[in-house]
């Protein structure tokens, strides 16, 4: 989870980075090439597209909101995953959206009032640039990483059940014990999990991440809601039991869908970096596990997930940038060594409670995270460069 929850829509947009469909938005006045853009004219009850078929590759949408409501525009895969999106397009304004789009079928959706499924229009990206032939080692890396994410989900479900069973039994102590362990698989593969933008807000949102207008009493679900009950309130009521069952259900959904996530070598590399970003913004500060203080467990899991993606990409990355992988090896080792100082048994996930970690030590952890995350941000380039 990010320190401050993004709106559901922007969280969903992590798909763009994750699928290496490099979506980006720019102001309408910045680079207006005009003619080759697909014009999208949005009103309160229509979403007109100037071309329903365009060459794949670098596609630009020139959006104009002629309606009276604020709107947002999406490019969607047929299964509703998001290619790219742009929110908050005010009435009477224009916005450009650009994305690298492969050949295939898509939908463009306008959402007047920024709610609902939107007004949709089927479009097709044709021929265009065929994807360059990829290094077979990278295909293998992607396949192995996919297997890994599925395995993490598969292994997580029983651990979650142990946690939720304890809650359903009303056993506060047992639930507390099972809590951190139930999150490890999720934390290891978080960027993939987050790519299904609807699951993350259900299972991993923190109270401060709720959106305006959401009521914590009814709208706050998932691990952290239960964490608060267990550690702050110290009791389990009927609502908590309901939420436990809901958590099982939502994570089951994750387990069913995780195998379908779009994964590419660059999304793996940037996903690894994002795991470190998660650490830097949420765990190092102690915000993630504000009640249980099990931040270091999440921390370790994030690092493990990043290391897994890195290890799979390393053979190719080393060929392209040996200095980078040498530095990454060094920094992964340094961070893991530092983390080991916070657990007695190197095989257990029994880490020091984060409220016992002093400011100077937190700084040390933060420095080590920065030392790893900065070179890790260069991994994607080392994977794509020949």
């Amino acid at each position: 989870m990010r320190a401050v929850r993004l709106t559901a829509a922007t969280a969903v947009a992590t798909v763009a980075a994750l699928t290496a469909v490099t979506g980006c938005t720019e102001k309408s006045d910045s680079k207006d090439k005009g003619s080759d853009a697909v014009k999208v004219t949005a009103t309160d009850d229509s979403c007109k597209v100037s071309a329903t078929s365009f060459p794949a590759g670098h596609v630009k949408l020139a959006v104009e909101n002629k309606g009276s409501k604020v709107t947002e525009v999406y490019v969607l895969f047929p299964d509703d995953r998001i290619v790219t999106e742009r929110e908050n397009i005010a009435p009477g304004t224009k916005a450009n959206i650009t994305a690298e789009i492969k050949a295939g079928d898509y939908e463009i959706a306008c959402k007047p009032g920024m709610t609902g499924k939107g007004i949709r229009q089927k479009v097709k990206a044709t021929g265009g640039k065929a994807a360059a032939k990829r290094d077979p080692r990278l295909d293998k890396a992607v396949a192995e990483y996919r297997t890994y994410t599925q395995a993490q989900a598969d292994e997580t479900l029983p651990k979650v059940k142990k946690f939720t069973d304890a809650i359903r039994k009303g056993d506060v102590e047992a639930a507390k014990k099972a809590y951190a362990d139930s999150r490890i698989g999720w934390e290891r593969t978080e960027p993939v999990a987050e790519s299904f933008g609807d699951i993350d807000p259900k299972v991993d949102v923190r109270e401060d991440g709720l959106e305006d207008g959401q009521d914590p009493k009814t709208d706050w679900t998932g691990w952290h809601r239960l964490e608060k009950s267990l550690w702050k309130d110290g009791k389990i009521g009927s609502r908590e039991k309901e939420l436990a069952t809901l958590l099982d259900k939502d994570l089951k959904d994750w387990q069913n869908r995780v195998g379908k996530a779009l994964i590419t070598p660059t999304s793996m590399a940037n996903g690894a970096k994002e795991l470190l970003d998660e650490v830097a913004t949420g765990k190092v500060t102690g915000e993630e596990e504000a009640y249980s203080h099990t931040d270091l467990v999440d921390f370790k899991a994030n690092v493990e997930g990043a290391e897994k993606a890195y290890d799979l990409l390393k053979p190719v990355a080393t060929e392209n940038d040996a200095a980078l992988t040498k530095e990454l090896d060094r920094q992964f080792a340094a961070l893991n060594k530092l983390l080991d100082e916070y657990r007695e048994d190197k095989k257990s996930y029994d880490f020091t409670s984060y409220d016992k970690v002093g400011e100077a030590d937190r700084k040390e952890l933060s420095d080590a995270v920065n030392a790893l995350a900065e070179p890790l941000s260069k991994l994607a380039a080392a994977v794509v460069v020949k």
Binding site: N370, A373, E374, A380, A381, V385
Partner: protein, 429 residues
Amino acid sequence: MADTDTDQVKDTGTATPPAPSRRSLLAAGGAGLALGAAAAGGAVALTRSGADDDMQPAAETGGAVPFHGAHQAGIATPVQDRLHFAAFDVKTDDREAFVQLLKDWTEAAALMCEGRTVGDGAYGGLPEAPPDDTGEALGLKPSRLTLTIGFGPSFFDKHGKAFGVADKRPEALVELPKFPGDNLDKARSGGDLCVQACADDPQVAVHAIRNLARIGFGKVAIRWSQLGFGKTSSTTPDAQTPRNLFGFKDGTRNIAGTEKDRLAEHVWVGDSTWMNGGSYLVARRIRMNVETWDRTSLQEQEDVFGRDKREGAPVGKAKEHDQPFLKAMKPDAHVRLAHPDANHGATILRRGYSFTDGTDGLGRLDAGLFFLAYQKDVRKGFIPVQRSLAADALNEYIQHVGSAVFAVPPGVRDKNDWWGRGLFERTEA
């Protein structure tokens, strides 16, 4: 090559410090003021004064200060309007990695001081990778950016052995003693390295530190940093002397960049070591209790400093630059205690900035002076002056809350040279 720093400002020539005026050469007063602050943006003050036609507001010239030279820029070169000062801890014991960092830093610093981007720039690279330069200084002028590096005592204590430079620790690089009234926050003190970034545009100074910190991740980590505005003293013989946040003029007789003799006598190290041509820097975060000061009567305020508030004239004199008669001042007056005559001639070059970091939890302005002083030897410069200030009446209104000292090596001579090369290079090389 510019062998004096007076030559170091190129560009339109308007930023070149004018020759010292007759008045400033004759003046001898008030050099020891340990506190100083700015006229709100020296540039504005100059424009308003209309007195010096040859001085153009510095920020508008936007010129580049040459990075290469016998001395590091940012010491005797004309003071800019803004500061971002950062102290770093070294996180590696790998000599090769650290030396590479110094080389990478030097290369980036030289580019940024020319107003150019770091590495492959801020855009146009691989879409999948973050750009080398963070980009927020794109389109901005060099803004007289200077970057000045220093090595702290802890650098030699903690890493001297691993880096094979323990025997090169300068004798003059001493830890500062505890001074009466110090209330030092460890989190705002010390540091193995420092980089002082001064520029006329705060975004340029912040960009420089941010990019150096980024290049340094894994090798160094920022320990603390301080933003400053409003130079509190000047190294150009300006018509206007800056004011500190207490509203008093300061730096009336600071060492000017044009005063080669005084620089040689008080600022530049002149010996046969790697520090030859370098200097020693003392950085102190001095919190001012501005609320209580503002409730203090004018008479007491003037008594505390030993100068009048309007003109800056020493007690009993009419003009700012009149020779002060120290005995006319109260025995605990700041100027009297800080003056070289009261300290066996101890003289320092000040380059401090005002700061405010918002307000504290009690609603008090978290403001004061980020004091920066360069000298040939801390033991003969800052330490005796600060000891003398133990009785300073000003102490009721200020508190030293952060402290650090650094050995500042000589300048980077040319494109093949790098920050700290003299320290790391074998003598036979």
